[in-house]
């Protein structure tokens, strides 16, 4: 199976490394997505961390934004981390970045503050348990369906799953912990979706 990753900007390589390591026994291939054609034949897509304004602009410039939106609405698994979560959410409250509305959630950009407020946090994730992960100029999930919340930092929701859609405010790809990427690959295998890229 081929998993795509939006390859314009951000910590793309870190996601590729995590996906490959987590998918070693599953025969997972990873492909960078930069043009509509790249979407042909992928079974899931990751939108990485980076600058959401930059990734948003380039997704639109190269006409991939609507394509991802359409494929994910028809069932293709998607994982968005940090900037990626902002891009798949329904409401960002910021005209500079419009969410695709794939995930029914309101997400506020840079909600903890500037870089000096970035932190390592211990979170609890359903069916995984405790993890220590970095939150870097992270967004906050201010509104989401209660049944979609699968990960919390204290009382705050930081990870959502609804059907084929996975969104997180933090960066598991910067750590050696592969459990969340493993969870996403299970979703990809379970869904068995193959994009036509049209």
């Amino acid at each position: 199976m081929i998993v795509g990753i939006v390859g314009f900007q951000g910590d793309v390589q870190e996601h590729i490394n995590s996906l490959k390591a987590a998918g070693k026994s599953r025969g997972i291939q990873v492909r960078q997505i930069r043009r509509p054609d790249d979407m042909n034949g992928i079974s899931g897509i990751v939108i990485p961390g980076g600058e959401s304004t930059t990734i948003y602009k380039l997704l639109n410039t190269y006409r991939i934004y609507d394509l991802i939106k359409m494929e994910c609405k028809s069932g293709m698994p998607v994982m968005g981390t940090c900037a990626g979560l902002i891009l798949i959410s329904k409401d960002t409250g910021d005209p500079r970045v419009n969410g695709m509305g794939i995930l029914n959630a309101t997400v506020t950009r840079n909600a903890y503050g500037r870089q000096k407020e970035s932190f390592m946090g211990e979170i609890t994730v359903n069916s995984i348990g405790k993890m220590v992960v970095p939150f870097i100029r992270a967004p906050k999930i201010v509104n989401a369906d209660e049944d979609s919340i699968i990960g919390k930092y204290g009382d705050e929701p930081v990870m959502l799953r609804k059907g084929n859609v996975l969104g997180l405010t933090f960066h598991p790809e910067l750590t050696d912990d592969l459990r969340i990427h493993g969870m996403f690959l299970e979703m990809v295998e379970g869904e068995g979706y193959i994009s036509t890229g049209e």
Partner: protein
Amino acid sequence: MPIDLSSLKFGDELLKRGFAKMTKGGVIMDVTTAEQAKIAEKAGAVSVMALERVPADIRASGGVARMADPMKIREIMDAVSIPVMAKVRIGHLSEGYVLQELGVDMLDESEVLTPADPFFHLYKRELKVPVVCGARTLPEAVRRIFEGAAMIRTKGEAGTGNIIEAMRHIRMVNEGIAVLSEIGNDELKRAATQISRSYFNLRKAVSSDLLGNEDSLGDFRLYYGMSGEKLESEILKILKEIRRLKRLPVVNFAAGGVATPSDGALMMKMGLDGVFVGSGIFKSKDPARMASAVVEAVENYEDYKLIGEVSSNIEGMAGIDIDEIPENMKLQQRGW
């Protein structure tokens, strides 16, 4: 609430290097006003560098160049949602803390400003915010990483619009990395000794002044409580990591002379993770178009048809021939 992990050292380093990783594949633009910052953000910049004057103007005006006016930086931070960086003088820890307190997301310990310390660069491990530093060669890059830099950039020659020095510096760094994989462990140790030499300069100067020879004051607490032995062993560790990774262990950008979309593409082709554009954007005829064009060229650095299209009919800054700049006027000579 969860246990407080913010005090853990690995966390600090991961957060600082992680921040830099979020800028990969991107363009960081120098801006001097809130208006320019908005243009940069709209064009797709991943971050802006807040300045009072762009390097070309600093170069032209002379005098002592210091950290920018905090009011100016705050204006720029308020205008955009992308991270804001600011320059700190080499070794000026107080300017560093002021900028950190202000909320600047990353500091650039920059040779474009007048250096404040003739002996030591900033001890960057002490700061909570990440710091990017310039480097002309692998040893310079290694020293900065040892001091805690979360990101490296070429020095190039700022404010010239001339790419040759950035090209020289990335070639020097890349060649250094290539050599590391060809030498044995004994030679690697020798390199570590060589690279740590500049940290002895202060002690040597005092020893020579006080006792008439350079070696009499022992080897303790040369740099922030570290002995020469400790320095060398930490530097050796970094060299081994570089040899294993076949690249620097931190994000590595181009800077200093990037003026056109093709310049940006060339730097990516050389293996860099992204580019800083200083004077090149807002010294060009149509900054908004130039900014977008550089972003697109960097993202698609091997799509030459596209780079040709975005480069059409945009006039870059005039630029300066490096040979016309006297040696002592070259900004890259600052730092060591």
